[in-house]
């Protein structure tokens, strides 16, 4: 019989190895899934993971997309990872992303058509504040009324979606749009446009912000008492209180910070790649970022790599949809599977497998 035995301390090797093993296992299981859907599994895997970067025909278009897609994923996941480490489960980043975009776009539309250098910085501020405020709602409810922040943050996603619909159809609707839903396109408003910084790379301000967030989170977690307190609270809440951590302040910090980063991601998206507020502006970055955070071991550098990998599956998925007729949903299932394999593999970090005589359980 196989049984598990708790390790005296977590294995560092396994904690690095599991994400890689999870990716490999997902490719294999995904291959079966694609074969089941009647696609050649090897071709499908190559189309998703190889062609977007190295195929002569597609790479020129796909490569910049990598950073465009990875930027918001990394930015949001960095914020979420701090909370997850502290045991604060904000799963409503999608809502904070939407509200950040709404506030940021609102700032831009309020200034339209003024051409001034301060419009874009004000939008950035607005985006961060919007996401922060939306994240603080579950934070305040949790600290004041002990309400479960997981459920509240998630339910607020649906509220944010309705709010966005009402904005796209009402207050923010483009007056020159001939009655079509959706706001003005910020791509036509230079002072507000988040343009590509280096042509052909996909690098925009949001990607820069993501890199800064990675560095910031790394320093915070490894060199600062705040990061230490976050880790301590997640691992041993009573020890944290003993060490003088104020749990409520930490909860508010985590929810506010992750909300602000998600809001920023929304702002950079609406001001750049998306260009406008529409009913279907959000595409699930806030949920995929949860996978990115776990796949990256809640470690800033890991999240950077995981964000790039996840962005690749998005682009590769689109390519596979276009080339092989692979349904878009297959990629979503594929990403979910990745998280399963990762969580399953985690057991190896804390437990050793023993084969032999069993204990009576």
């Amino acid at each position: 019989m196989v049984r598990l035995e708790r390790r005296p301390e977590p294995s560092r090797h396994w904690s690095y190895a599991t994400p890689i093993l999870a990716v490999v296992a997902t490719m294999i299981a995904g291959g079966f899934l694609f074969a089941f859907l009647g696609k050649d599994p090897l071709v499908a895997i190559r189309t998703i993971f190889w062609d977007p970067l190295f195929n002569d025909q597609f790479a020129a278009f796909s490569r910049p997309q990598l950073l465009v897609k990875a930027g918001p994923l990394i930015l949001i996941a960095i914020g979420l990872s701090l909370g997850f480490r502290a045991g604060v489960w904000n799963i409503g980043a999608e809502g904070q992303y939407i509200v950040g975009a709404l506030v940021g776009a609102g700032v831009a539309l309020a200034f339209y058509p003024l051409e001034a250098w301060y419009v874009f910085p004000l939008m950035v501020l607005g985006g961060a504040l919007g996401g922060w405020a939306w994240g603080m709602i579950p934070g305040i409810l949790r600290t004041q009324f002990n309400t479960n922040e997981t459920l509240v943050s998630l339910l607020l996603v649906y509220v944010a979606e309705q709010l966005m619909a009402s904005m796209a159809l009402g207050l923010m609707r483009n007056p020159d749009g001939g009655g079509f839903p959706g706001s003005r396109n910020l791509g036509d408003y230079p002072a507000a446009y988040n343009q590509e910084l280096i042509a052909g790379t996909g690098m925009h301000w949001g990607v820069v912000a993501a890199f800064i967030a990675v560095i910031f989170a790394y320093i915070l977690l490894n060199r600062h008492i705040m990061g230490f307190n976050i880790r301590l609270t997640g691992q041993a809440p009573r020890a944290a209180r003993f060490a003088g951590v104020k749990p409520n302040r930490l909860i508010l910090f985590c929810l506010g910070f992750s909300g602000a980063l998600a809001g920023l991601a929304g702002l950079f998206e609406v001001a750049g790649p998306a260009g406008q507020i529409t009913i279907d502006f959000n595409v699930g970055y806030g949920f995929t970022a949860i996978i990115v955070a776990f796949l990256g071991r809640l470690h800033p550098v890991g999240i950077l790599l995981a964000g790039l990998l996840m962005a690749l599956t998005y682009i590769g998925g689109e390519l596979a949809q276009f080339m092989l007729g692979l349904p878009a949903a297959a990629i979503q299932a594929f990403q979910g599977m990745l998280l399963f394999f990762l969580l399953a593999g985690d057991v190896m970090t804390n437990y050793r497998v023993r084969i032999g005589k069993t204990e009576v359980a």
Binding site: L155, A328, Q332, D346
Partner: protein, 310 residues
């Protein structure tokens, strides 16, 4: 706005239908949580149940088989959660989230060929005489069988938890898994059974959504119903009877806002549509603010991993 177009009798009858999916999912999750497991994947299990039930009903032409298929789909997905959390000791919150993300993906994948298809209709019971009673007839006796199944399930869960040995053992495992283990109870096995039951109920709820309530298949059609079911378990402070109350209250709000939309109320549609979510949050806040009550009823081992170390 024309409020007179809202018929209170039809409203009550409709709220029972609107509440049934959530009621089914919530009563299943109640059992799971009573055993000490927090499965946040209700949304994923519901939507998987919705498409499995829909597909089976369409392929066989038999709605009853469809409901069975939905329950089986939800239970199968829940066992993935069960294996990960009970054998591989993964974090329950993270695994529940993964279940939801995966469920949304896999259901969309299965549902490729079913968009726009009409499912076979689930007949109302239409009991002679009883259904024709004024007022009471349409409210109490004019529904399809699943409405009664869901109420029966609530009563059964209440009875089993309160009066039977199985219920006592289940509560004991959720309260203190180490003590239950020391007394010789199979903690992991009991929890797996509870998880599968919860998955089956969530799947049934999903199938009701796609076969009766809507009735058609669209991607992401559960639209947060699973999360609301989770909230209702908290609202009910882990008591079966109050799950019924919570679900019907929620159903009432949903139906009322739909009626107000139809009656052309001056509030934009979007704000009416967000009201069920806002009210769910409000109810959560009110329930959780009372610390003593919530703390007494929540199973003490909820969400904690169990490993028989010695």
């Amino acid at each position: 706005m024309d409020l007179s177009s809202i018929d209170p009798i039809l409203l009550i009858a409709a709220l029972m239908v609107a509440a049934t999916p959530i009621l089914l999912a919530a009563i299943g999750e109640l059992v799971v949580e009573k055993s000490g497991v927090l499965n946040l994947g209700v949304e994923g299990m519901m939507i998987t149940g919705a498409i499995c039930g829909f597909a089976v009903a369409v392929e066989t032409g038999n709605p009853a088989l469809g409901f069975l298929g939905g329950a089986a789909g939800g239970a199968a997905l829940s066992l993935v959660f069960g294996i990960l959390t009970q054998f591989l000791l993964s974090n329950q919150v993270a695994t529940g989230l993964a279940l939801t993300l995966f469920g949304l993906g896999i259901s969309a994948l299965i549902g490729q060929g079913y968009i726009g298809v009409k499912p076979p209709t689930t007949a109302d019971l239409n009991l002679p005489i009883l259904s024709d009673l004024p007022v009471l007839g349409p409210i109490l006796f004019g529904h399809d069988a699943m409405v009664y199944v869901s109420i029966g399930l609530v009563i059964a869960v209440w009875y089993v938890l309160k009066f039977t040995r199985v219920g006592l053992v289940l509560r004991a495992v959720g309260e203190n898994h180490d003590a239950a283990h020391a007394l010789g109870y199979k903690v992991v096995r009991i929890r797996l059974a509870a998880i599968a039951f919860g998955g089956g109920c969530a799947g049934l709820g999903g199938a009701y959504l796609s076969l009766v309530r809507v009735p058609q298949w669209t991607e992401g059609m559960t639209a947060g119903a699973g999360w609301i079911a989770l909230a209702i378990v908290v609202f009910a402070s882990w008591k079966a009877g109050r799950v019924l109350l919570g679900a019907y209250l929620f159903g009432g709000i949903t139906v009322l806002q739909l009626n107000l939309q139809a009656a052309g109320m001056k509030i934009p549609v979007e704000y009416l549509s967000m009201s069920p979510y806002l009210i769910t949050i409000l109810v959560l806040v009110i329930m959780s603010a009372d610390k003593s009550r919530a703390a007494l009823n929540a199973p003490a081992s909820l969400g904690r991993a169990f490993h028989a170390s010695s």
